[in-house]
Symmetry: C2
Subunit: 216 residues, 2 copies
Amino acid sequence: MSDLILTTYDWVPDMPRGYVRDLRVRWALEEAGLPYRVESTPFHDRGAGHFAHQPFGQIPWLTDGNLSIFESGAILLHLGELSETLMTTEPRGRSDTKEWLFAALASVEAASQPWSFFKFSGDAEQTPMRGFFDGFVEARLKHMDAVLAEREWLAGDFSIADIMMADVLRLVDRFGGLADYPACGAYIARATARPAFIKAHADQMAHFAAADERAS
Amino acid sequence: MSDLILTTYDWVPDMPRGYVRDLRVRWALEEAGLPYRVESTPFHDRGAGHFAHQPFGQIPWLTDGNLSIFESGAILLHLGELSETLMTTEPRGRSDTKEWLFAALASVEAASQPWSFFKFSGDAEQTPMRGFFDGFVEARLKHMDAVLAEREWLAGDFSIADIMMADVLRLVDRFGGLADYPACGAYIARATARPAFIKAHADQMAHFAAADERAS
């Protein structure tokens, strides 16, 4: 019996499937070969038990013995501390891995998330702020493209930093945002060709498909 | 001679002074009593030497011996690993500290940053997306207020998680966004009353004021 339990929603609409944030955690667990199981929490009724694990009423969270951890970044860091496959023990590479893990969230996703909201919900708006957010993500992608043109992975060997960055960039790519950034595109192509990603993605799709079957 | 060197801009416009992200790092260094010095990099001319330390052309970065670390979250985590004052060594509290450090960035600032951009640049726009981003930050603040109504600090004793969260919430407060969230307001009041914050804030203001004097 595994001590690692990943909790995600029991169901989500079609649109986010394949991009729900439990994917980042599944991917890391598969890369490391750590045993785990997946549990579900209701998407529609988010009760006190849910908020006790995730105070914003979101997913995923991971339990490891008596630890319960939310935030995909914190979960990946925890798994990186469990597995040298996910984060080297060499001090410089370890520092670089953590730095890029934060950068994926606080520099890239902080810009790409509002951009993706505009793409998904507000694409008809051509306002000054729309232009501002387009410019914000473009500034980040321009620099990421320069970084990724010169290296295979962000911090030496493949790591949790790449899981996070590739998953952030995948959503930009889904909305057509990487056309002018070929090194970013090539990076997510090689990241998502990894068997651990393929398994994690298939498992997430199957998890939500099973919910459809139960409902029908 | 200290091994810890914090680099920030040599100058910034008046508007962001007191909120530039080196403040988070100064605050942590002051809380821990770690010796450090501050160096400057040009705000106007960001050359290859800057990008070698910070690939997005931003600040701050911290050097510690042969490590160079960018991303305020990664820098705070590094300092937390150097000082029990900033992050407990007790496993549960340590895990909670890291989780909330990420939450401040990826759950709260990810929502408050686009909201603050609208406040600063696009306050005249009353578009559907403006409403969406208002709702996004309100959802986060509602849950943060519930969390902070029940605890003094996020993860037991004061920690790097509080430095990050309080600094994120300060900017929301600056734009009047905490009026309906009294527990958030009380939290930043007690955080910013700490001597280490007061010194860090005064030092940042003095750093940029000195640049004005050199230019005049």
